[in-house]
């Protein structure tokens, strides 16, 4: 599939200056007990600053490996990743996670022993240059803006519903003004209604504070509804199978999911994804724990 970079309609905020991602020929080979396992094979993708890109694929297609490389938890065996032209990850670059590309984790990683306010201000305080009072003020405003979450600023994560925990975790990432937001199947265990509520909140945050977003998911519907571009991955070794431009207008509405344009997109993608899912299953691919 040709790599057609597309430009979503401009009814969003202006494109940010930073956050352009250049992934060039990245491969990752693990060798547990000596047999080489190719998780990612010559994967390339250019993401313009401010684009919302979703990556879809079955277990074992290397989407988590890619995320780990982008986030700086892992190094590629070959190939290179550039952030705004500056090398970010490469075989000889020491992996270094940092606040310019923050991850929202699949199982959720709010610190249970810190209050909501503690969690949200943690990044600002650790990077320094901001007083505690200033950090808390910023946190309160951001929490208030997204669904009056400032009401639960002093609560502990264990007291919140999984939906609320997710929203706080996204805010904890966004407050650091990262260039790229990396989301690892954040709404995976949620039921239909909570999931679509979360979609609405994420899109609201995105329109208010436009960032480059890389959204990893197995749910094609979710990818098509949220993203400007949907990348379908092949099962192991992970390569780019299909690059679908989603030209639906923004802000996205639930009703659009019944429109002809959406159905056409879904038609194309459904077979590609389920084909990969079948192949993955034949090979006994398991969720890489």
């Amino acid at each position: 599939m040709t790599n057609t970079a597309s430009h979503p309609p401009e009814d969003l905020g202006p494109r940010p200056q930073t956050g352009g991602l250049g992934i060039a020929n990245v491969s990752k080979v693990y060798d547990p007990e000596g047999r080489a396992v190719v998780a990612l094979d010559d994967f390339s993708l250019d993401v313009e600053a401010g684009d919302f890109v979703a990556i879809v694929g079955p277990s074992g297609c290397g989407k988590s490996t890619l995320l780990n490389i982008l986030a700086g938890f892992d190094t590629p065996t070959s190939g290179e990743v550039l952030l705004d032209g500056v090398p970010l990850a490469g075989p000889d670059l020491a992996p270094r996670p940092g606040p310019d590309r923050v991850v929202v984790f699949q199982q959720g990683a709010l610190f249970p022993w810190m209050t909501v306010l503690g969690n949200v201000t943690y990044g600002l305080l650790k990077q320094g240059g901001v007083s505690r009072r200033e950090a808390e003020a910023r946190a309160i405003t951001l929490l208030a803006e997204s669904g009056k979450l400032d009401r639960i600023a002093d609560a502990y994560p264990a007291q919140l519903s999984s939906g609320m925990q997710r929203r706080v975790e996204i805010i904890r990432a966004l407050i650091n003004d990262p260039r790229v937001l990396l989301l690892d199947e954040p709404f995976r265990a949620m039921d239909t209604v909570n999931k679509s509520t979360m979609h609405r909140h994420l899109l609201e945050l995105y329109s208010r504070n436009r960032k480059t977003i890389v959204f990893i998911t197995h749910d094609l519907e979710e990818a098509l509804f949220l993203a400007d571009r949907v990348i379908v991955m092949t099962t192991r070794p992970g390569t780019l199978k299909m690059d679908i431009a989603v030209n639906l207008p923004r802000p996205r509405k639930r009703e659009m999911m019944a429109s002809d344009a959406y159905l056409a997109l879904r038609e194309k993608a459904v077979f590609a994804v389920s084909e990969e899912a079948k192949r993955a299953f034949e090979r006994g691919e398991r969720e890489m724990a």
Partner: protein
């Protein structure tokens, strides 16, 4: 969603006051059985034992026959010595065991060096150290404290280690993403994350401390509840034996309860988790 289907396992909990009634009945039954065994049973073995009322009278009399009751100074001296030894050993175990457990859990290198040594020393029952401790340490006091410390130390270190190893990797990664340095990760992720199992370890350590303290005091000490129990036996002051045992049980229970309380205070978030998520 709790259910109420009648299940042979979990008979519905009885009404609170009915349970307190039954508990009172249980205690009364126990006292009665004890008294009956001592006075009315044909076995000489039972007749030698002190009966409950004898013990209570001695324990609460202002002029106790054998000199030990809640009104005599000696009683509190023994309690003081035992408590001081237990707390000294427990404190040492916390000071050494928690940091070692944390670093063993956090840094693979530390674990590699100390892991095998610990697993070499652990199977030796701590009380076997008593004779050596008496020989090596200048006085009896440090020897008894050392043995008590040893028991508490292993319990603390092991549980702290388990606690640190159980922290999900995502927390470390989240902190790194947010710009935390290595030192930050130690104080913001490792220690708080391991806290719940550190306190489990501390409770076990406190119980173990009292356990081995008694042996040390019986074998080698001049003061303390263990010594009191053994000496009362030698001087045929049987009611005082039971007073000593009951006091030990009480003080042991109170110190474990204190550790639980401190734990609950320090880990408000943990308690929340149990409360809300129930």
């Amino acid at each position: 969603m709790p259910t109420d289907a009648a299940i042979p396992v979990r008979t519905t909990s009885l009404l609170p006051n009915r349970r307190t009634w039954l508990a009172a009945l249980g205690f009364a039954g126990f006292i009665l059985a004890w008294y009956a065994a001592v006075h009315w049973s044909p076995f000489a073995a039972f007749n030698r034992l002190p009966d409950p009322f004898e013990v209570v009278v001695e324990w609460t009399s202002s002029d106790p026959y054998y000199g030990i009751s809640i009104f005599t100074a000696d009683y509190y001296t023994h309690i003081f010595y035992s408590t001081y030894r237990a707390l000294a050993a427990f404190g040492l175990a916390v000071l050494l065991g928690v940091p070692l457990g944390i670093f063993m859990g956090w840094k693979q290198g530390v674990r590699a060096y100390t892991g095998s040594l610990l697993s070499l020393l652990r199977p030796v029952p701590p009380l076997a150290w008593v004779p050596i401790a008496i020989l090596v340490f200048p006085g009896v006091e440090p020897a008894v404290i050392f043995v008590t410390f040893l028991v508490a130390f292993f319990a603390t270190t092991m549980n702290t280690l388990v606690g640190v190893r159980a922290i999900p990797q995502d927390y470390y990664r989240a902190a790194a993403c947010l710009g935390a340095s290595n030192r930050d990760v130690l104080f913001d992720v490792v220690i708080p994350g391991a806290m719940p199992s550190i306190f489990t370890g501390l409770q076990i350590a406190m119980g173990a401390a009292w356990f081995s303290l008694v042996a040390g005091e019986m074998i080698a000490a001049q003061y303390g509840l263990g010594f009191l129990i053994w000496e009362s036996y030698s001087l045929i002051q049987y009611p005082t034996i039971v007073i000593g045992m009951a006091t030990l049980g009480l003080v042991g229970y109170l110190s474990s309860a204190a550790v639980r309380l401190v734990g609950r205070r320090l880990m408000a978030w943990h308690e929340q988790r149990l409360g809300m998520a129930g």
